[in-house]
């Protein structure tokens, strides 16, 4: 087997094998059972004591939501204030970086609060060390934990019987940070520094090269930030070009470790659902449904990236390394394509190659992946998005057999289906309306200077940006000149709606399900772990995505592919 293909096969299998025990461990954290990290309990208890939180106080879905939204508002204000004043802070700014422009600061604050980490600034020239740590590194923990806490509340709702308690938000939030994100981050960050990734407070280093040029080499506390960027499906890189930068991704082994970090928690949490409700097979069935789509996407992108840009092949050069524009030699085409699917599946958004320069159908797959946004998905929210599709699929299956649909012993009624349908429609609404507005502006002001590429590809750049914002992904077709008020504000709003409505809606569904009477299983109960249901579920996902988005994809990536 080709050494590049072997690398990604080993990576995927290893991650899945480790995700199963890790999923079991996460369930113990959510249920407050004993784990081998209980020595951290004094730290957590100290925080609860100082904050006057009773971690065992029950909270219903509304209290959970209030706590979560209030906390996020505080995060936003903190981030925004630090960003527009960063030049004036007395320390951790050795390279003398200036304040951030207000609309870019708005976009960035929203972006890190919502776990999107779309970056309309460039790290090495736009953010001080203080901002990188006290805003970005911090928010990459807590925004991930916000998503995990919401998901854990939904898990609890499904096993509750006629009760309102969905768990204590503060406890789920803090323990997601200390017990899930932190231990994984420490292990991986130390591995990365051993492989040469910098972690220092010294400023840029000046060197005279072998040819005699003087260059300044930007560095900083890279490793801790890069690790949580991957582990928390954040994606906000330390440097502008993210994990294509050699300091942010030193070699093939670190690439392997970082890609592992991107998908381990999202996959583990799917298994965790099965373990939590006492039906591991449900977790495996959901995992199987997602994996069918994931692997199909991997096949397509690895094929096209390894084949290379056919326009360059027409020039008569040796294209055997694949499509190398925007890619690194130490990583190679196959690992870049696999990462591309990983990062767009899990709403991570970090990149190890420039998606804008990839072949048209690979770019199209990434956009479609973010349009679905539930193939493993971001930590916590990925499962929540998937849960919305499950409700719709259960409803449709119920209609087919003419019986009130049930899910895990709870009747799914009009209220739940309405909320689920609204949440499912929001995503295409944000993406398509946003892209339509941008296309309209672009069409009337051709000299506006947004697009790095003409024609179909230019349209794809705009479509990608809105899809990435609404999906809280954060990667981009970075040729887009997006550091302007138009993009900062519109994408900022998309990120906010795309983040909080898919948390509010499903939490409301969860609250309603938790309060319902348990209906014992009978011969007529829909079996959600059966292959038949998995097939229905997949069809629902593909039909919703295809019907809503096919026209837009046809105008961008598909048209570009056909023009080659």
């Amino acid at each position: 087997m080709n050494s590049e293909i072997l690398g990604i096969v080993v990576l995927f299998i290893l991650t899945v094998v480790l995700a199963i025990p890790f999923g079991r461990y996460c369930v113990k954290v959510f249920k407050n059972e004993k784990t081998w990290l209980d020595f951290l309990a004094p730290v957590e208890n100290f925080v609860f004591k100082v904050c006057r939180i009773n971690p065992n106080q029950p909270m219903d879905w509304k209290e959970n939501l209030k706590a979560s939204l209030t906390l996020n508002l505080i995060f936003f204000v903190w981030a925004f204030v630090i960003l527009i004043t960063q030049a004036w802070h007395p320390f951790w700014n050795p390279d003398g970086i200036g304040n951030m422009e207000p609309t870019t600061a708005f976009n960035t604050a929203v972006s890190f609060m919502t776990n999107t980490n779309l970056q309309h600034y460039s790290g090495e020239t736009g953010a001080t060390y203080l901002t990188q740590l006290l805003v970005f590194c911090f928010l990459q923990f807590v925004s991930a934990a916000t998503g995990i806490a919401a998901m854990a509340s939904i898990f609890k709702a499904i096993v509750q019987r006629q009760a309102s308690d969905l768990g204590n938000f503060y406890q789920l939030f803090l323990k997601s940070c200390t017990r899930i994100l932190l231990p994984l981050s420490i292990v991986i960050a130390l591995f990365l520094v051993l492989r040469g990734m910098p972690s220092t407070f010294e400023g840029a280093a000046q060197v005279v090269t072998l040819e005699g040029d003087t260059v300044n080499v930007a560095r900083g506390p890279v490793a801790p930030m890069v690790t949580i960027k991957q582990v928390g499906t954040n994606g906000g890189g330390y440097f502008g070009p993210n994990s294509t930068h050699p300091f942010e991704n030193p070699d093939y082994i670190t690439n392997f470790a970082e890609n592992f970090a991107i998908i381990i928690i999202p996959i583990a949490l799917i298994f965790a659902f099965g373990f939590y409700i006492g039906k591991p097979k449900v977790g495996y069935a959901f995992f199987a449904a997602m994996t069918v789509v994931f692997l199909a996407f991997v096949f397509i992108t690895v094929h096209f990236e390894s084949q290379g840009n056919t326009e360059l092949a027409k020039m008569g050069i040796d294209n055997s390394l694949g499509a190398m524009e925007g890619k690194e030699v130490r990583i190679g085409s196959a690992a870049s394509a696999f990462w591309g699917v990983s990062t767009t599946s899990t709403s991570n958004g970090s990149v190890n190659s420039m998606h804008d320069s990839q072949t048209p159908l690979s770019g199209g797959v990434y956009i479609l992946d973010m349009m679905i946004n539930a193939i493993y998905g971001g930590v916590g929210v990925g499962f929540i998005n998937f849960f919305v599709f499950v409700i719709i699929a259960v409803f449709i299956s119920g209609l087919m057999v003419g019986r009130t649909p049930e899910l895990f012993g709870k009747k799914i009624e009009a209220k739940e289906v309405k909320i689920a349908a609204l949440v499912a429609i929001l995503h295409p609404f944000l993406i398509l309306v946003g892209t339509a507005i941008a296309s309209h502006v672009q069409a009337n002001q051709a000299d506006i200077g947004w697009l790095a590429n003409p024609s179909y590809h230019g349209f794809s750049e705009m479509l990608y940006e809105f899809t990435s914002s609404a999906a809280n992904n954060g990667s981009g077709f970075e040729g887009l000149g997006d550091a302007t008020p138009f993009w900062n504000i519109l994408c900022g709003l998309c990120m906010m709606f795309g983040r909080f409505i898919p948390i509010i809606g499903p939490l409301a569904i969860a609250g309603s399900l938790a309060a319902k009477k348990y209906v014992p299983e009978s011969a007529g109960t829909l079996n959600v772990e059966s292959p038949a249901f998995v097939a229905v579920l997949l069809s629902v996902i593909i039909i919703i995505a295809a019907l809503s988005f096919f026209p837009a994809l046809a105008l961008g990536p598909i048209a570009e592919y056909l023009s080659m």
Partner: protein
């Protein structure tokens, strides 16, 4: 709502200290002990002088050196980036064609079909420290001519610098800076 606001402020401060300060300081502290060059980035020295960083590619466009990949930022390690040009962009394709033509002028013994794609495309970060083994090999004849060196000697030098896939996974590559330092030492 008010109680959530006060609790929220407190837990924000606590988590900023834990995850924005203690966690990165801890990693940086441990890096000082265990990491190459104490976490400041591993340096490459020639005769005791620092000539670059192990991970950071640098500009080589002189005919007497093995040249690296094109860089959109001209190997400026303080402001990095890629081209973000799409695969069918006519300006981009013209730029690649120009790189091919330039290469052929500097390396007249080489046929177009031998040019590996990494030598005429820009990396994502603009700091790629490597080229493919094929990209090093096709520069041997030029360098042998400029430096009046034996081709066989240069071939041996390049082969000694080819890094194979790790545990059978990944790509083969050549570290351009290491190769050029060794080249300067070749007699």
């Amino acid at each position: 709502m008010k109680t959530h606001l006060i609790t929220g402020l407190k837990i924000t401060v606590a988590t900023i200290i834990l995850f924005g300060a203690i966690y990165p300081l801890m990693i940086t502290g441990i890096a000082r002990v265990i990491a190459p060059n104490g976490g400041r980035g591993e340096e490459v020295k020639k005769n005791g002088r620092v000539v670059g960083f192990e991970l950071i590619g640098q500009k080589f466009d002189d005919d007497k050196y093995f040249n690296g990949r094109p860089s959109v930022v001209d190997y400026n390690a303080a402001g990095t980036g890629g081209s973000n040009k799409g695969p069918t962009n006519p300006d981009y394709l013209a730029q690649v064609q120009a790189r091919v033509d330039t290469f052929l002028v500097h390396n007249p013994a080489i046929k177009k079909s031998q040019i590996p794609v990494d030598l005429i495309t820009a990396s994502g970060g603009g700091l790629d420290p490597h080229i493919s083994p094929a990209a090093a090999r096709i520069q041997i004849q030029r360098i042998a001519g400029v430096r009046h060196l034996d081709v066989a000697k240069l071939e041996a030098l390049v082969e000694a610098h080819v890094e194979k896939p790790i545990l059978g996974m990944g790509t083969s590559r050549v570290h351009v800076l290491h190769l050029n330092i060794a080249l300067d030492e070749l007699k």
